[in-house]
Structure formats: structure tokens, C-alpha cells
């Protein structure tokens, strides 16, 4: 895996958000902070969520931008943001967001790994309940 795909600084395990938009902004901010995307990407993430929910099951959502917003992606990156208090994601309770910024296919392997985890309820629970950055890095990479 590429070294800068999942920056440990983009793993935030004790966040809170009042609603879905705030949670998405938090994910976007994490991607901005590690230099993966420019500021406008955050709005693109909100826009993308309006069309179809990025909820993927097991309390996990994978917010990301639109096709047009790839222009402001500097490098493929993922952030992992956990909301222990939960966020109402269009009726689904979400406790973990895996935010995505991608213009190439650098993140494909990591998403495949995430899909495997989510199809295994035990592993999904471990990931959702992770309280250490190291645990998350180990599960996903």
C-alpha cells in the first residue's frame, strides 16, 4: 500500500457530530489537513451525499466527492473518523466514517479490505469499536 494513503493523522477516533453534514465536514477537514484535497472538496462531499447515501452497512459510511471534484484531489487518501455517539445517516446509525479522496485507483485495495471487514460482523464490530489508531491501521492495511 502507498505510504500516504492512510495517514495516521487522518485517523480520528473520538469525534462527535450533530448530524450527517457535520460528520461529512469533519471527514473532509481531515482530508484537507493531511494535504490530500483542497478546501472545495468538502462541499463536493456534501453534494455527493445528497444524490445517494454512502452508507454501506454495519454502521459505516464512506463519504467521498463527486467525479468533478477529482480536480481538487492532490493525492489518493483515506481518513477514518469515528463518532462513538453515533450519527443519524438518513435513518441508519453510523459510528464510523471512511472518507475517501481519489483520482486514481490507489485506494482500491483498501476499499476491498474494508468490504471484507464489513461482511464479517465480528471484524466490523472490532473496527467500529477501535479506540487506538494502531488498531485501525492494522485492520485496514
Amino acid at each position: 500500500m502507498r505510504d500516504n494513503l492512510l495517514d495516521p493523522r487522518a485517523v480520528l477516533l473520538h469525534e462527535s457530530a450533530a448530524d450527517r453534514d457535520e460528520a461529512i465536514r469533519r471527514c473532509g477537514r481531515a482530508l484537507v489537513d493531511v494535504g490530500a484535497v483542497a478546501e472545495p472538496y468538502i462541499d463536493a462531499m456534501l453534494e455527493r451525499e445528497q444524490s445517494i447515501s454512502t452508507y454501506v452497512g454495519e454502521g459505516v459510511a464512506i463519504p467521498h466527492g463527486t467525479a468533478a471534484a477529482k480536480e481538487v484531489v492532490r493525492h489518493d487518501a483515506i481518513c477514518v473518523v469515528r463518532f462513538p455517539g453515533g450519527v443519524d445517516w438518513g435513518g441508519e446509525p453510523v459510528t464510523l466514517c471512511v472518507g475517501i479522496a481519489a483520482k486514481d485507483d490507489g485506494h482500491v485495495q483498501l476499499l476491498a479490505a474494508l468490504a471484507d471487514i464489513l461482511l464479517d460482523p465480528e471484524r466490523a464490530r472490532t473496527l467500529r469499536e477501535a479506540t487506538e489508531v494502531g488498531q485501525v491501521m492494522k485492520e485496514l492495511t
Binding site: S51, P63, A102, L114
Partner: protein, 102 residues
């Protein structure tokens, strides 16, 4: 209504809005489930469905756009990104033989 026999399915396209998130995830799962069948799985934005696609899989919220983009293709819409019954049925049909209807 388009339909296709399982033996004529060689390429499945998972179509998505941005092609960077959920379609990538679903394509990786489909690829794994169809390993050994000779069927290739790719993911593309919904407005760039290639001409050689045999079956298009996309979220039901994108189905209308997929029908405009690829009117002659067999379309399998799904609601849930992982473990959707429509996708499970598609995989079973490819493996066991049968017809996939749009």
C-alpha cells in the same frame, strides 16, 4: 426488456456517480465472488459505461441515468452496497446458469 443468458456474460460494469467509493467496493466483492468464472468486473462512472459491457450493476438511484447512458444493456439495480439480494442472485445465475433480465 433486455435479457442475457449467463453464458454470454463476459463483462460486468459496476456504474457509480464518481466511481471512487461504493462502486469500487462492490466491484471488488463481485470480482472475488466471480473468481474462476472468467467474467471480468470493472467500475466506471455511470455516463461512461463501455460498449462491451454485458451487464450493468448500479444503485437504484442511478438506474435512470444508466438506462440513458447504456439503453441496450441488461441493468441490475441494487439498494444495498454490500450483500444486496439482486447482486447475490446475479452471481448465482452466472455460476449456475440461467437468464438475467433487465
Amino acid at each position: 426488456m433486455a435479457s442475457i443468458d449467463s453464458k454470454d456474460i463476459h463483462k460486468i460494469i459496476v456504474a457509480c456517480d464518481a466511481g471512487m467509493g461504493s462502486s469500487v467496493m462492490l466491484a471488488s466483492q463481485l470480482r472475488k465472488q466471480l473468481k474462476g468464472t472468467g467474467v471480468t468486473v470493472e467500475h466506471t462512472p455511470v455516463n461512461e459505461i463501455p460498449a462491451d459491457a454485458d451487464v450493468v450493476v448500479c444503485h437504484s438511484g442511478l438506474a435512470a441515468r444508466a438506462r440513458v447512458s447504456a439503453p441496450d444493456k441488461v441493468l441490475v439495480p441494487f439498494q444495498i452496497f454490500l450483500g444486496d439480494p439482486a447482486v447475490t442472485k446475479l452471481v448465482a445465475t452466472i455460476k449456475n446458469g440461467g437468464t438475467v433480465d433487465a
